[in-house]
Amino acid sequence: MSITYLEAIREAQAKALADDSRVFIYGQDIGSFGGAFKATKNLAAEFPGRVLDAPISEDAMIGAAVGAAIEGLRPIIEIQFADFSTVGFNQIVNQAASLFWRTNVPCPITIRLPGGGTSGGGPFHSQSLEAIYAHYPGLVVMTPATVEDAYSMLLEAVAIDDPVIFFEHKFLYYHLKAEGLPTEALPTGKARIARPGRDMTIVTYSAMVHEALKAAEDLAAEGTEVEVVDLRSVRPMDTDTIMASVARTGRLLCVGEAWPWGGVTAEVLARVSTEGFDLLDAPPQRLNAKDTPVPYHPNLWAAHRPTADSIASAARNLLRL
């Protein structure tokens, strides 16, 4: 059996609904239609009354999730595109993120944000907003890169007693496949060594893991062994695994699909330079999307985000430092 990243997300939701009567899903077009991307296909029929179509009201959708969580439920909210979460932003960062700290009452909600770029997506259907949410205390931010993680991390997101921002990458939806669903998984907060190597560490997450792995293959052909660390969750961020890898390789390149200013790559570099300075044989480097909105035309888009080629090129530069 072969299963896609998108199907894994659907399966995880099916399992969460089946295993835990506190779970329900709320989002636009997710009921009988099965969602804009079909991540909830058939779930409304399988779980009557527990997969609800929402009006186009992101603020109210998140607010309602918080209220339901207070009453002991475990809502999953699907936002149609991560980009539209900006109109529900306040409820996420001020209502959900502060609830436990203010009241000692947990806020176990999962907000699914289909994010990241695809060809032709354009400025408002392509954004990678992990840094915006990770800046706020009180949120967990997951960025699964594999089919297995899409499945197991979504299940864990539902189980976690805190608001989880679950960034599922649209570029991986259909193309990424696995042989089956995992039965065990790393816990949230643990990064994964996606490929071991001795010459350099590339820290990345989500769709960029695959670009980094491709780059690593190219570099291997040139005799450079790159270690690729998949962060899995960018908050919490597994500093220990990063540091251990840098300790082995002495070189760090951090890659993110988001904009550079204050992104995941900045946070990784800040941690490594404060706490792992002496481990570094060369200045740590970062590679991000270009510092503009995400362009519509495929040619521009391909140049806007990091790719295997630009990662390999950055890695080669870093090796020369």
């Binding site: 603020d59 007693d161 919490p236 220990d240 404060t274």
Partner: protein, 365 residues
């Protein structure tokens, strides 16, 4: 004892439902007196907080409910255990009526670590979510959908007959959050009671700069929910309206939009002298103090005599003074005992390397 004067009736938009005879019964009188005592306690608590603020004893803002007690207490009294209430800034009376203690209120204003917000949040941002009292965040309109969600949860869980109430000002109706949430409640036909206190101002801004409809209650039509208009400084009318609205919601008639006309009889906060309030409004019928009106009615109807009312007042003063005395003896929070942890999941904490501290979870300093 004479029969209660029929309270001024509320005007319903959409449907005219002929209400029962609550206004005539002795149980109405009992409710009225209970409500009055709640208003009195709230007023005295507010006055005390204002004087503590002026004395420099309270950090941060102090926001009073003066002029809005009748409306607010009616909300609190119309609710039962198991219901949800998300009060706003001018709901001292409703909070107390719903079951909040004076101690919770005072502790939160002083930032006592023993209060429900444990020094972390203050003044009107207090509540006990697990007891149905939701603590507001400051962003106006943001609590309505949270109440909706709680009511959706009740439905999921098969809990029947509960309702959720929340309050907002005239200014708050201009927020997108208000709109999305009221519409959401209408679509889901939730037992939400949304109470709008049109007190003529949003901070300094008059309603003419806030909306252009004839009356805020007209908004009900555009959402397909029932609207209620009430003179917000007339306790009897408020009690009847809220009881009616809550009953409707409880019996499955969907969201109820209650719009009360009244005047804020204080500044926006205690830092504000409210010089901008129009003298004509102060002189208008809805500018009269609801507490005085209720007291007049009680005396006129001879439901209680002046001595009794005075005794109630003293009792309330004592209650408030006791609470303040207790809280003033309580220790301030100790930052070194604070866990500085925003997540419920301990194992997901970041253990940030803090360059200012001696030891750090992961760092080298």
């Amino acid at each position: 004892m004479p029969v209660a004067k029929k309270p001024k009736y509320t005007h319903m938009v959409h449907t005219v439902v002929s209400r029962g005879t609550v206004g005539e019964s002795s149980s109405f009188r009992d409710t009225y007196l209970q409500a009055y005592r709640g208003m009195l306690l709230a007023r005295i608590l507010d006055d005390k907080l204002a004087s503590l603020y002026r004395g420099g004893k309270i950090h941060g803002g102090v926001f009073l409910s003066r002029g809005q007690e009748a409306l607010s207490v009616a909300v609190g009294l119309a609710l039962k255990k198991g219901d949800i209430f998300a009060p706003l800034i001018r709901d001292s009376a409703g909070r107390l009526a719903f079951g909040e203690t004076v101690l919770d209120a005072v502790r939160t204003c002083f930032g006592s670590p023993l209060g429900p917000m444990r020094s972390r949040d203050g003044n009107v941002h207090r509540g006990r979510p697990l007891e149905g009292l939701f603590p507001m965040i400051s962003h106006l309109g943001a609590m309505i959908s949270v109440v909706n969600g709680a009511l959706m949860a009740h439905r999921f869980k098969g809990i029947k007959g509960t309702v959720g109430a929340t309050c907002l000002g005239d200014g708050g109706t201009s927020t997108g959050a208000f709109h999305e949430a009221l519409n959401q409640a209408a679509v889901e036909r939730l037992p939400l009671i949304l109470v709008i206190a049109n007190n003529e101002y949003a901070y300094s801004t008059p309603t003419s700069s806030q909306f252009a409809c004839r009356d805020l209650v007209d908004k009900a039509i555009g959402y397909g929910v029932r609207g209620w208009s009430v003179e917000g400084n007339e306790l009897g009318a408020c009690l009847n309206t809220l009881q009616g609205a809550v009953e409707q919601a409880r019996s499955g008639q969907g969201p109820q939009l209650v719009v009360a006309r009244l005047l804020r009889l204080c500044g926006h906060g205690e830092h504000d002298d409210s010089h901008y309030v129009d003298a004509e409004l102060k002189a208008a019928p809805h500018g009269r103090d609801c507490l005085k009106l209720a007291e007049e009615q009680i005396l006129n109807e001879q439901w209680a005599d002046a001595k009794t009312v005075e005794a109630w007042r003293n009792e309330a003063v004592q209650k408030v003074e006791e609470a303040v005395a207790i809280v003033q003896r309580e220790p301030a929070p100790d930052p070194y005992k604070e866990n500085w942890r925003a997540l419920a999941s301990k194992h997901l904490g970041e253990g940030y390397s803090d360059a200012g501290s001696q030891a750090s979870a992961t760092g080298q300093i």
